[in-house]
Symmetry: C2
């Protein structure tokens, strides 16, 4: 019995695959089911099913260990916070700072670890104060609703590729705290975030934070470099010793990075028939591995495929 | 502005804390709300709110790097698989084997990485074949229902401390794939697991696997040693090189370990008024940090406190 899984390799980062562990003897395949697998759906996609993130809304966090984390900023959700992130990045605010918190099954957080207020790094031309931007109202939010039930929000779905909640009565939308969501840390006051400290969800979606935080974007590549950072042993997962922190070499907008140093990726659009088919392929697994179909998918379980851009 | 969070330290492993990042100036505290915080609830607990896992149902996986992972076996869910795990552990099956898969936002998996069937480690007196044990039927399952909505199961709650789903019509229960759930890998055939390969959920709860796998227990301590294992770069997160695997020094039942080498812990009971109050304190956060209360909690977001045993 081989250890190699008897399934097709999925080439995308977010693929959640089955737990097959033994190579089954090859048998005559049954007649193909009508429903396509996720991989078949991805393979059948056309260029119009993908979008390329705007370099001005793409943030590269290059860690001191050489790994790159790619964040797509989502200005629809918190425009002033995203503008602030752009300013901070352009002025090199995070360069030389560090990831100073890693709490198991929750978040990783970075910023200026300096505790002495008089020694903190200058925020340059960034604003001292930002308003709370927990939700936004829009008549056309490019909303793609997910029909599945959700306990946290009246509706769930996607705003231009980002998992989100929606209250149709109030007309508001907000980013959901799914794996990879990036928000601005704050104090108890709602308007106390200045976007210098950012966190990313690395654990079970803590959606109680939805509508409580100003959210700036989503990690679209490189989550594995954040999710595997050893956990801090101090309160809330902060590192107790400076040498435990993970250094940030630079955080730059892709638009400020020379073309040959960019990570050119494409994200699957979430407002297409193909994406709806992909979601259904995950809502009800029709491959031989699954014996019971869920007839449901949670917002934060929906795969959001990312691939290397086909051309420059 | 200090980086230290202005909140009380939570001493339990699964505490999900707020994202406060700046030490607020101390103000005159407001009159205490009636609702207690999770920490206050834990502090007010009595010995009867805790239970000590049976050493015969407690598995220590001691990794080659010296870290210990503690798994509570849950025989109610898959009695034959748990009996098999006990046999395999008692006969030292996993000793010297390895974790050979780490897939980001999904699972870590261990067993015998040998691909040549003729060279695989003997399973000793363990059974060659086990039945599928995906759900179980019981009249008295020690069921504590969570009133919150769930998209995956008609009802959710806890069976003696383990997050689970329940179908009242069918009279069945099953373990939910929450963070830390441990199951038996299998091939496409439902009855193809022999409990030699185990996996643990390290990412967003993949509850589409509920009712599809035979589940043996739950990691109650040491998840951080599994969740931070670098991700495998092969298909499904399998490691491509043997040296990337994480060695297993031994996997033993606590009852087979000398008393002074045991990790004596207590788990909070899930069938008490105190636990119900704890869940409510997380369903609706009443501390100053939260501006919007969720009026909901997902099964896999419920904290399950663990503490060092007070006495031996």
């Amino acid at each position: 019995m081989s250890m190699r899984p008897a399934v097709t390799t999925l080439s995308i980062a977010l693929a959640l695959a089955c737990l097959a562990v033994h190579a089954a003897p090859r048998r005559v395949p049954a007649a193909p089911a009508k429903a396509r697998s996720m991989q078949e759906i991805i393979d059948a996609s056309t260029p119009g099913d993908w979008r390329r993130p705007d370099p001005r809304d793409t943030l590269y966090m290059d860690l001191a260990d050489g790994h790159r984390v790619v964040i797509e900023l989502a200005p629809a959700f918190a425009p002033q916070h995203v503008a602030q992130v752009r300013t901070l990045a352009r002025e090199g605010y995070w360069n030389g700072l560090a990831i100073m918190r890693s709490q198991d099954n929750f978040v990783v957080q970075w910023g200026d670890p300096e505790e002495d207020a008089t020694k903190k790094k200058s925020i340059g031309s960034a604003k001292e104060h930002l308003p709370a931007e927990f939700t936004f109202a829009a008549k056309d939010a490019r909303w793609t609703r997910l029909p599945d039930a959700d306990g946290w929000a009246p509706q769930v779905g996607f705003v231009n590729g980002v998992p989100a909640g929606h209250d149709a009565k109030a007309g508001t939308y907000w980013m959901a705290h799914c794996y990879g969501a990036v928000g601005a840390g704050r104090n108890n006051e709602a308007d106390s975030s200045d976007a210098t400290e950012l966190y990313v969800v690395t654990g079970q979606s803590p959606r109680q934070l939805d509508r409580n935080m100003s959210m700036v974007g989503r990690v679209v590549q490189g989550m594995e470099w954040l999710s595997t950072i050893p956990r801090g042993t101090g309160p809330l997962g902060f590192f107790e010793k400076p040498e435990q922190r993970v250094g940030i070499k630079s955080t730059r907008l892709a638009s400020d990075v020379p073309r040959d140093e960019r990570t050119d990726i494409e994200l699957m659009r979430t407002d297409t028939p193909l994406f709806a088919e992909l979601v259904e392929s995950r809502r009800n697994r029709r491959d031989a591995f699954y014996k019971v179909q869920a007839h449901h998918i949670d917002l934060c379980n929906v795969p959001l495929p990312v691939r290397a851009a086909k051309t420059r």
